[in-house]
């Protein structure tokens, strides 16, 4: 045993009294003051919510989505275009199904795709007087075998925004003069420098294919030994070809393509002269100046490079961040509007449902007995009629009696409120059953509290967390039903002008094969929205669950 200053005593030894000292000789004993701040119910819940990282992230993303839904329709230049040009919101069929593009110069997200095209198509677009090149060559390959013959195909990168030249745009004289002045100021007029501005000018000269097809072409074909019957047929087909609005970019002489030894009237190639160059068919006046317009009924009909003309006319470059649909509407803008509608509908409906369900459930749960039994049977019946039936009936009835957006919104409200509150009611009822028999309620009742006081002062605050969570978790359900109902077309949106995510899905699915981006972006968007709402709701549920208090500390 080590030697120590203190003497060790065993159980039987007697301890001398001087060994004892008083613990609190001088200080008096008080309750220690709390060094921490008191934590209220809300603060406690919030701190528990903040601990759940996923829920916080989901809440942030939801806030961003809400901001997106508010800001984009306000900020997008496309939502501020004049109602005269776009009576039913921004849509430009020239830009139908273009791909997402942030900027022209980026390596990706630039609105291009890789396609394989035939030789004719490639050749024709190579000599194009529009300002943007539609096809950029990647590689060229020859397909076929000696028996059926060879053909060349071109693997190219297609710029979907190169919408080319449009003719027949009607403007008035003042506007035309402004445009000419603008071009002169910018130095991009083709009259001043033809070669340099061929691919820069907005205004393109008028073309005259008739005199070529009826004059020079006949001479050329006859020299090649084509029979007069074939020439007539080629002439007709070629005129149609030039006349086709999609081919407004062709400003040069065409020649029928050759299949074997024969010239065919079904496809055309650029006509190259002896120097191997194309020859334009622009209209020139008596002074040999280019003519830019035709005048008819007080209006100028002009031929323009459509992308640049659009930029000039509306003052912004037409880029679609998420691409456009088959009507040339901006998916991003419509997605934002659809989200705004969905969120408003979801919040509004869950608020209404919350109030109705709360009252119903409180009465049913608090009074119990016969009242409860009858009210339960009523909710049973209401809950069992499928929403889809109520929706259909409401929609059919309302669209028969009123028109426009009101009918759609009202039929949604009726369908979702009709049995949406049943869930809240049953939750409230359960909570009331749980709390109404507890001692504190009994104590309050003994002290003479009225029913109203018991319900609102004592029971409801205890049930608040559960009920709020139930209402928040209702919102994604409503958004989901709304998008499925509008996808299925049970609610008719055609006349209302309302964009919803479901409508976008429906449009997207109709063009899923040719342009999947129309479908993919709303699909991914709604998936993110749902995931975030669920995570957020779950976090809220845990946060309001007081039994978890302090369990993780």
């Amino acid at each position: 045993m080590p030697k120590e200053n203190k003497v060790l005593y065993d159980a039987n030894s007697k301890i001398p009294s001087e060994e004892f000292t008083l613990v609190h000789e001088s200080a008096s004993i008080h309750d220690a003051k709390f060094e921490t701040k008191p934590v209220g119910w809300l603060k406690d819940s919030m701190s528990r919510f903040a601990k759940n990282k996923m829920s916080v992230i989901a809440a942030v993303i939801l806030a961003l989505i809400a901001l997106f839904a508010i800001i984009v329709p306000l900020a997008s230049p496309k939502s501020r275009v004049s109602g005269k040009d776009f009576p039913s919101g921004f849509q430009d069929s020239k830009f139908a199904e273009v791909l997402p593009r942030l900027s022209h110069n980026m390596p990706f997200w630039n609105g291009t795709k890789v396609v394989t095209i035939g030789e004719n198509d490639y050749q024709l677009h190579q000599y194009d007087d529009s300002n943007y090149q539609k096809y950029t060559l990647i590689s060229k390959q020859t397909l076929g075998n000696p028996v059926i013959g060879f053909r060349t195909v071109y693997k190219v990168r297609e710029d979907t925004y190169a919408v080319g030249v449009s003719s027949g745009i009607k403007v008035n004289k003042a506007y035309y003069d402004e445009l000419v002045a603008y071009e002169a100021k910018k130095g991009i007029s083709m009259s001043t420098d033809f070669d340099k501005n061929l691919h820069r000018s907005i205004l393109k000269p008028q073309i005259d294919y008739k005199s070529y097809v009826e004059g020079e072409l006949v001479t050329l074909l006859t020299a090649e030994g084509v029979s007069p019957d074939s020439i007539t047929s080629i002439q007709d087909k070629m005129k149609n070809y030039y006349h086709n609005a999609e081919n407004a970019y062709i400003y040069y002489k065409l020649f029928p393509a050759k299949r074997g030894e024969e010239y065919v009237d079904t496809s055309f190639v650029p006509y190259l002269n002896n120097e191997g160059k194309i020859e334009d068919i622009y209209v020139r006046d008596t002074d040999n100046k280019l003519v830019y317009y035709t005048y008819e009924n007080g209006e100028y009909s002009i031929r323009v490079d459509y992308y640049d003309y659009f930029t000039y006319r509306y003052g912004f470059k037409n880029n679609y961040l998420l691409g456009s649909n088959n009507f040339g509407q901006d998916i991003l803008l419509r997605l934002a509007k659809g989200t705004r509608f969905s969120l408003l509908l979801g919040i509004g409906v869950s608020l209404i449902n919350f109030i109705i369900g709360l009252i119903w459930g409180a009465v049913s749960g608090y009074y119990g007995g016969k009242v409860d039994l009858i009210m339960e049977r009523v909710t049973d019946i209401i809950a069992n009629v499928p929403t889809i039936i109520i929706m259909s009936i409401a929609s059919i009835q309302l669209t028969n009696n009123m028109a426009g957006a009101g009918a759609v919104v009202l039929s949604f409200l009726i369908a979702f409120v009709y049995n949406g509150w049943v869930g809240v009611a049953s939750t409230t009822r359960m909570q009331f059953y749980r709390f109404k028999g507890q001692e504190y309620v009994l104590a309050s009742r003994t002290l003479g509290a009225k029913d109203r006081r018991l319900i609102f002062k004592h029971i409801l605050p205890n049930a608040a967390g559960t009920l709020v969570t139930a209402s928040v978790l209702m919102i994604p359900g409503i958004i989901f039903s709304e998008s499925s109902l509008s996808y299925l077309g049970i609610v008719d949106f055609t006349s209302s002008g309302i964009d919803t995510i479901g409508v976008l899905l429906k449009e997207g699915q109709s063009v899923i094969k040719s342009s999947p981006h129309v479908l993919i972006s709303p699909v991914i968007f709604i998936a993110i929205l749902m995931i975030c709402f669920n995570l957020f709701g779950n976090g809220l549920r845990d946060a309001f669950n007081t039994t978890l208090r302090g369990s993780e500390d």
């Binding site: 069992n384 989901f480 094969k513 709604i526």
Partner: protein, 351 residues
Amino acid sequence: MRNVKETLKYILKRVLLMVVTFLVIFVISFALIRALPLNFSGGSGTDEMKFYMQQVAIGRMYEKNGKFYENPIPVQFFNFLKNLFNPYTYTDPESGITQVASRWGYSYKVEAGLTADQVLFRHLAPTVVINIYSSLFSVPCGIGLGIFMALKKNKWQDNVLSVVIMLFISVPSFVDAFLLQYLLGYHWEILPPSVASLTENGIFSPVMFQSMILPVLAMSLGSIAGYARYTRAELTEVLTSDFMLLARTKGLRRSQATVRHALRNSMVPIFPMILGEVISVLSGSVIIEQIFTVNGVGGIYLDSINSRDLDVFQFVSMFYILIGLVGSLVVDISYGIVDPRIRMGGGKDNA
């Protein structure tokens, strides 16, 4: 069984209650649907006269001086009931054949000329087959996944799968459907993106089966996630309970204890879910059917809404409601039968 009589009494009570609920819903829906305006607007394949004659035959309209008028809704309902138990006769204006009028009304647009019940039963097969495939696929997969997760609880496998399952539960089924259809159907072209025509192929033909894979997958993903989450929750609870400890101390290996004791007990609340699924194979998912162009009940339902083919709409709606009610009834009752701890019909004091 301790109280077979009590159980039977409870079941009878529930069935009666269900019948009453169904009848009330039926009356409400009948009134609502009959309140919709009836107009013959370009029904294909049926002429206007025939349509009105049919409506007269089922007691919805009456004829006066060669013009047709609608009966008041209570009269319509009375006529409907009379027709139900003692069908009227109806003379086809074209062929002149007199036959018994349909109890459930006639289609005049969706499949003109057929009665509403014929229209429904003609399209039942694809819906049921797809749903059966989906159940056969999703129930074992989901439960298996759930068991795996419960056994690997809080290990990385469990965590990863939990996140995946959370994603699949949150994401609406049509999102899965669209992505599957685009990726497998159109982009990589592995599987046909829409279901083959039933008239050209038999319902069990290989072509049909292949084209049904995508809708079945789309339907199953969400339900697999649901089963997996539920099984995991149940099994982890059972695995930590006292009788498992007892079983282990008795000398059972972990696998023995899990298979013989834990698994069977955890299946108690899952079994009714499966039963519910079996019944709901009849109704199916309208949206999945629409996406993959399944020519099933969902399609008929939508067509009948959009073309205002009200008799078909009413019949299919009632069919859906009945299946929903029977499904929830069976689930409720089977809970009591499978788990003897749940005293059926128990009040507050003996629950």
